[in-house]
């Protein structure tokens, strides 16, 4: 916990604490409610995040009554297929940890191997350190972290980046939280070859694939966010689309749905443009089933 967060807590006068009051004080309830409402599905993820929030709240309560509250390790690993919301959750996580007073600034620095590993000898360490410095006070999100380790090339500079990362993860736990993300199997083998990483990461969170109903809800959320509306027929077309798209190659959960929605917007624009030239507000808003059924998914 930061010094500033500690200072705002009143000194302990009695030994009983009202957890509800502490809960209200941190405003975490509103944040978790937003989290529940805005993100569709992801039940196990939400459960884990509620656990972490409770843990941090208790750590705060313990500190207030004078029990030892060593800085808890909060480094996390997010595993799951593409498009299951890992980056989105990491962004929210930064906000939650900031609200709980665990990170000072609450920003997210999202990097991949290219941002950490250099091209020649002596290039990696400054590069990694610069990224770490930028992430201090917030959350460092390393997407597809397993690319850092290239077992087939023992001269690879990735190992140097890993060593610096491990050192900072251990010694500056109060300054930043590191989140690793990627496919489950590949991240598991990465941890197997870098046991130091596994032991320094307290929370392994698995992101499940979305089911069809959740994907439809996500499509509708995109529509509402962009002030579009799916007609009843378009909604049915979307249901069919999701059922078909799932079995096609390179299916990326919510990301595929967002792309499908973007293409439907394109087709809607083309349809209106090719029409009789007069449009009203409703026509501009509505996506028809023809916009979705024109997709390649239905023809192949």
């Amino acid at each position: 916990m930061t010094a500033a967060a500690r200072a705002e807590l009143p000194a302990s006068e009695c030994d009983t604490l009202d957890l509800k009051a502490l809960y209200a004080e941190t405003d975490i309830a509103a944040l978790l409610a937003d989290f529940d409402r805005d993100l569709i599905g992801l039940t196990p993820v939400k459960q884990r995040i509620r656990e972490i929030a409770a843990y941090l709240l208790i750590a705060r309560a313990r500190e207030r009554v004078g029990l030892t509250a060593g800085t808890p390790t909060l480094h996390m690993a997010f595993t799951g297929n593409p498009g299951t919301g890992k980056t989105t959750v990491a962004l929210r996580m930064a906000g939650i940890l900031h609200r709980l007073g665990y990170v000072r600034k609450g920003h997210l620095v999202s990097v991949t191997r290219d941002d950490l590993v250099g091209q020649y000898i002596g290039h990696t360490a400054p590069k990694t350190k610069e990224v770490l410095k930028r992430a201090m006070g917030g959350v460092l999100f390393i997407d597809e972290a397993y690319y850092l380790h290239r077992p087939e090339n023992e001269k690879d500079y990735g190992q140097e980046a890993i060593e610096i990362l491990l050192q900072v993860m251990e010694n500056q736990r109060e300054d930043l939280v590191v989140v690793l993300a990627g496919y489950k199997t590949r991240l598991d083998s990465f941890f197997a070859s870098n046991p130091g990483f596994r032991s320094r990461i307290a929370h392994h969170i698995d992101f499940p694939d979305y089911n069809d109903a959740e994907l439809l809800a996500i499509a509708e959320t995109f529509a509402v966010e962009n002030e579009y509306r799916l007609s009843a027929a378009a909604r049915q077309a979307m249901v069919d689309y999701i059922a078909r798209r799932r079995h096609q190659p390179s299916f990326a959960n919510a990301r595929s749905i967002r792309n499908a929605f973007d293409r439907a917007r394109l087709r809607q624009a083309m349809r209106l443009f090719a029409g009789n030239g007069s449009v009203d507000r409703a026509a501009l808003q509505t996506i028809e089933d023809s916009d979705i059924r024109a997709s390649r998914v239905f023809t192949s």
Partner: protein, 148 residues
């Protein structure tokens, strides 16, 4: 003689917590913070050695503090300063600069009289520390032994 250069130099030396608070202020103003060091204390010595690149896009002082600590460890008994550069159009200059380390002993300066044409007297300021070669101006590293 205590060298007074940059901001806060008439105050007691800043603690790390105070330094972090100042750096925090600089970052809030979106200035790029850098760490520099030197063993030439002359007030007109503006070109100090850079400790790494200036740090852009930082959000928190922790990154700067770890660089300051690393610089102090690698260069004990030198002057270390923190500078904050404002890149806003029209400013484009250092907005704040202050010392974060000074040698344990600062021998100070002597005034030299230089006789110029027509027996005009000109004055020069010379640091006693500069009598010794670079790297041995303050405490000499014990392994290298004493210079005569």
């Amino acid at each position: 003689m205590r060298v007074t250069q940059g901001a806060f130099s008439f105050l007691p030396d800043l603690t790390d917590q105070q330094i972090a608070a100042q750096v925090e202020y600089c970052l809030r103003q979106e200035w790029a913070v850098s760490v520099e060091f030197t063993d030439d204390p002359h007030p007109r010595n503006t070109y100090w050695e850079m400790w790494g690149m200036p740090m852009f896009d930082l959000r928190d002082a922790a990154g700067v503090m770890s660089e300051i600590r690393a610089c102090r460890q690698a260069n004990p008994d030198t002057y270390v300063r923190v500078s904050a550069f404002d890149s806003t159009r029209g400013w484009e200059t250092i907005r704040l600069s202050f010392l974060v380390q000074r040698p344990a002993e600062e021998p100070g300066f002597r005034l030299e009289r230089v006789e110029a044409e027509g027996r005009t007297i000109r004055y020069a300021l010379r640091a006693y520390a500069l009598d010794r070669p670079a790297g041995r101006r303050y405490a000499a590293p014990p392994s290298r032994g004493r210079q005569p």
